[in-house]
């Protein structure tokens, strides 16, 4: 453990994770070896094992860290959302989700696409984290329904529909393209607002 402590160890640990993320997103989990990751970091093949016991642990760490960072980032927004109306809070969620994901296509790709390569126990852990995030959105939707601002026959399906729609931005958005991130977020916020608002009586 000695070599993992201190700033050199911490920065190498971060470099290992960044290299794993880059290579797995490019080639897929199965095609990347621990040796490839070591080469990408610029360390000897054996050195990598000082930072992670195996590739499965590295994959779990990538997904767990992504979801924990996402949840922590949303927690800061959620505190503000509590003082808002349900429609305002939902708009905050949409803008947050688009903004957070649009700049992290590698993390999103791995978090969704490499689920099949997790062991059963690791999959369960990742799914629980993902559901924690989804339940934050369900809570906002439930509040709007309770307050009469949203009409939604199925909160679980609607939350999944909204998240899939918003996360899809990572498959087509390119920096410097036709729309700025702010314009993209405006459009998604408008679509979600219309999708959820209570039918006029």
């Amino acid at each position: 453990m000695g070599r993992r402590s201190g700033s050199k160890g911490a920065s190498t640990a971060e470099a290992v994770q960044a290299a794993a993320r880059r290579l797995i997103a490019q080639r897929g989990f199965a095609a990347v070896s621990m040796r490839d990751i070591a080469a990408e970091v610029g360390v000897q093949a054996g050195t990598i094992y000082l930072y992670t016991p195996d590739k499965q642990s590295l994959l779990l760490a990538l997904m767990r860290d992504h979801l924990l960072a996402l949840l922590a980032a949303w927690e800061a927004e959620a505190a503000l959302a509590e003082a808002e109306t349900a429609p305002q809070a939902l708009e905050r969620f949409v803008r947050f989700h688009v903004g957070y994901h649009i700049s992290r296509p590698d993390e999103v790709f791995i978090a969704y696409m490499e689920l099949r390569n997790l062991t059963e126990a690791n999959f369960a852990e990742v799914e629980a984290l993902r559901d924690g995030y989804e339940s934050a959105l369900r809570g906002l939707l439930a509040r709007g329904v309770a307050e009469g601002q949203f009409t939604l026959p199925d909160l679980r399906l609607t939350a999944r529909a909204i998240i899939a729609m918003l996360t899809g931005v990572t498959t087509w958005y390119r920096a410097g393209g036709r729309l700025s991130p702010a314009q993209v977020a405006d459009h998604y916020a408008d679509l979600v607002r219309r999708m959820t608002h209570a039918a006029t009586p």
Copy 2:
């Protein structure tokens, strides 16, 4: 070519493609060898090369056939949609897309996730097919805007948002779960109707 002709050849060719689809969806393109596919079909490793020159051709064939079948299936619906109002035609598209994809999670997974493993030329071919399908939806949206039934500031983004939302069904739907495919389609149709309909003046 002799061994590829006739019904035995055709059925083996289909078995090769089905085995490739199953294995690639489970393990990822990089982790599946031609030898694995041959073993799954139950033929000698060398025999597989009578049906496909290499793994790249097999991947392209899987994606191309999926998109061509999707486009052909939509063509039949599109003929009916022409006689309908734009909102009816859009609802038809939503029900079609959900119904078609909900039963084909492997095809969807490969079509989106293995794009990175296509050569540049093959990627361009697949993207053109995908855009052909997306443009069918854009056409329906444009018709509704022209006829005053939809208010949509950005057709391209809206089409992508709708397709991502609907295709997301393959990540969570399980047969025998809480909702039937028809109920799932009803809910998505409702969300899309609300998302697109013209603001009341």
